[in-house]
Amino acid sequence: MLAPAAAVFAVLFVAPFAFLFVVSFWRVKTFKLRPDFTFDNYADTFTKYLEPLVFTMAIGFAIATLTTALAFAFAYVIRFKAGRHGNALLVVTLVTLFGGYLVKIYAWKTILGTEGILNSALLALGLVREPLTIFIYNPGAVVVTLTHFLLPLAVLPIYGSLRGVRDITLEAARDLGARPARVFLDVVLPQCLPGVTAAFAFCFLIAAGDYVTPRYVGGPYTSMIGNFIEGQFSLKFDWPSGAAMAFTMLGACLACVAVSRALLGLARPR
């Protein structure tokens, strides 16, 4: 029964992945791949690209934290506070998913740009005399854009896990003497931790792996590791370096997710 699925998985995922992994130890000579077994590509990654790698992890972490926190607040309101309006809020969340990724990037360009809505509004209100350039072409714009894009994707798993929290367990906690903050920490949070962890990991991996958003709203000095990997493959034809950078980043991402999970796991009851 599993054979067809396994075959598809092997051909479409395992094989290219394995090939790229092997290539990461090869060399390029006169634009041709030469099989080899060298760690130079990995060494180069750490010497030449350590800074963008760290920057990528940091900005990914910031975006994932911000998005998860906002998504949690939103999902919490839908689940516990909005009553029968909760479903309407959920639909609104889902509707924003229909707007594509690039559409959202361009939307933020038109909002944050020098000729954008934000500056027009500030000029019209007389708050500034000439357009501000601080809104766009910096890491902040990348954070805003990616957070906006990822928010509905984070709301869904968190809302799903919050729905699994039964009201009666909250009442039971209050009955046993828990004040609202304790109910939240001891009963709500531990029960929805799987959803929160999933949302965080999801946001982090997508944000850290992105290279389109920084190109359009990040400006010339906000290059994430994805931009450099893309350059290795498309401009320099240096597949081995690109592959080594990609696997280094993959390892770094998994390490970050593992650390986050461990930190969140501290919220479990003693």
Binding site: R166, I168, T169, E171, A172, A173, R174, D175, L176, G177, A178, R179, R182, D186, V187, P190, Q191, R268, P269, R270
Partner: protein, 356 residues
């Protein structure tokens, strides 16, 4: 059951005093202004059909539902506006409400941890309560690995370990199958005897109320229609509703004029009271087939159905008026279905209630 129906404490003040307590959900009145006293040591049942407001009443005592009016005092302290975390009550929820991310031991110890009870004392109390409700071997399990009966016991232990002044139980046995229910009833009685607290529980099952409680409040449409010991409620129902809700009852329509009651089915007797329609309520076990001379009330009818039920035989008689009378008799008298029979009972076995 009826033996300990007396008030456990003569004239002392009630532990729980409800005064004019009422609750409306928008235009829907769930509980009409209601007064109720529950005394220390009582095993108190709030009994009524679904939708009668009994669970709302229990939730108001526990602090989960805010009353629309009236007051709740526990131990002489007005707790009407206090949340459940500040009341000396603990609740066993109908769906148990166990914390799925904690083990049984953590579930039971949670309240003590919040109360900052020292670790060693906490462990001892959790251990003792687990022994009391017989779940010691389940200590390290998670709630999703428990059966319904086990989860019930854990929920009970989690509330009892707090040593509440009043233990509230919302349909505590409703989710269990019949055999387990009987067993848990005995357990609850044993635990109540052993720790001697005050238990208040909600049930729609009159058998459960009779089997557990020493005081029963029967509720109908948001009001408490009768409150008393099980025997009193069974023997002297105040309304037709109470008589038919508690046990099986024959209810016959009649009319009273100038102190004489005439039944639609034929018989009549003198009993002082206001003129108007009345109902005569008589229990099946108090009605005789072919009654002897001591039966003041006698009616004629046709035997419609005979069912042998072991301890007694159930006869269904259709009177000439078209009304039905059910008779429970210990010895099969040999009448055949379709025969004309007489039924009768002593006047002191019947109850007269106003209205139809």
């Amino acid at each position: 059951m009826a033996a300990d129906a007396k008030r456990p404490d003569g004239g002392r003040t009630p532990l729980v005093q409800l005064r004019g307590l009422t609750k409306s959900f928008g235009p829907v009145v769930a509980v009409r202004p209601l007064d109720l006293d529950i005394y220390a040591g009582d095993f108190f049942a709030l009994l009524g059909p679904s939708g009668c407001g009994k669970t709302t009443l229990l939730r108001m005592i526990g602090g989960f539902t805010e009353p629309s009016g009236g007051t709740i005092a526990i131990d002489g302290v007005d707790v009407t506006r206090l949340g459940p975390e500040k009341r000396p009550t603990n609740m066993v929820f109908q769906g148990y409400g166990l914390f799925p991310h904690m083990t049984v031991r953590q579930n039971i110890g949670y309240g003590l941890r919040l109360a900052r009870v020292a670790v060693a004392e906490r462990a001892g109390r959790v251990e003792r309560i687990m022994d009391l409700v017989r779940i010691a071997e389940l200590a390290e399990r998670r709630p999703d690995a428990l059966s319904g009966g086990q989860a019930q016991r854990v929920a009970l232990a989690r509330a009892l370990v707090m040593e509440p002044r009043v233990l509230l139980l919302d349909e505590p046995l409703a989710a269990l199958d019949l055999k387990l229910r009987k067993q848990m009833q005995e357990e609850l009685r044993r635990i109540h005897r052993q720790i001697g607290g005050t238990f208040v529980f909600v049930t729609h099952d009159q058998g459960e109320a009779m089997g557990l409680a020493n005081r029963i409040a029967v509720m109908e449409a948001g009001s408490c229609v009768q409150e008393g010991g099980p025997e009193e409620i069974y023997r002297q129902p105040k309304t037709r509703f109470v008589s038919s809700f508690i046990g099986e009852a024959n209810v016959l329509a009649g009319e009273r004029r100038a102190g004489v009651v005439t039944l639609g089915a034929g018989a009549g007797f003198a009993e002082a009271g206001a003129d108007g329609t009345v109902s005569v309520v008589v229990r099946p076990e108090d009605v005789r087939l072919d009654p002897g001379a001591d039966a003041e009330i006698r009616l004629d009818g046709r035997l419609e159905d005979v069912v042998f039920l072991g301890p007694y035989t159930r006869y269904r008689v259709v009177l000439d008026s078209g009304e039905e009378v059910v008779v429970h008799a210990g010895d099969a008298a040999g009448q055949a279905v379709g025969e004309r029979v007489a039924v009768g009972w002593r006047r002191d076995r019947q109850r007269l209630v106003q209205g139809s």
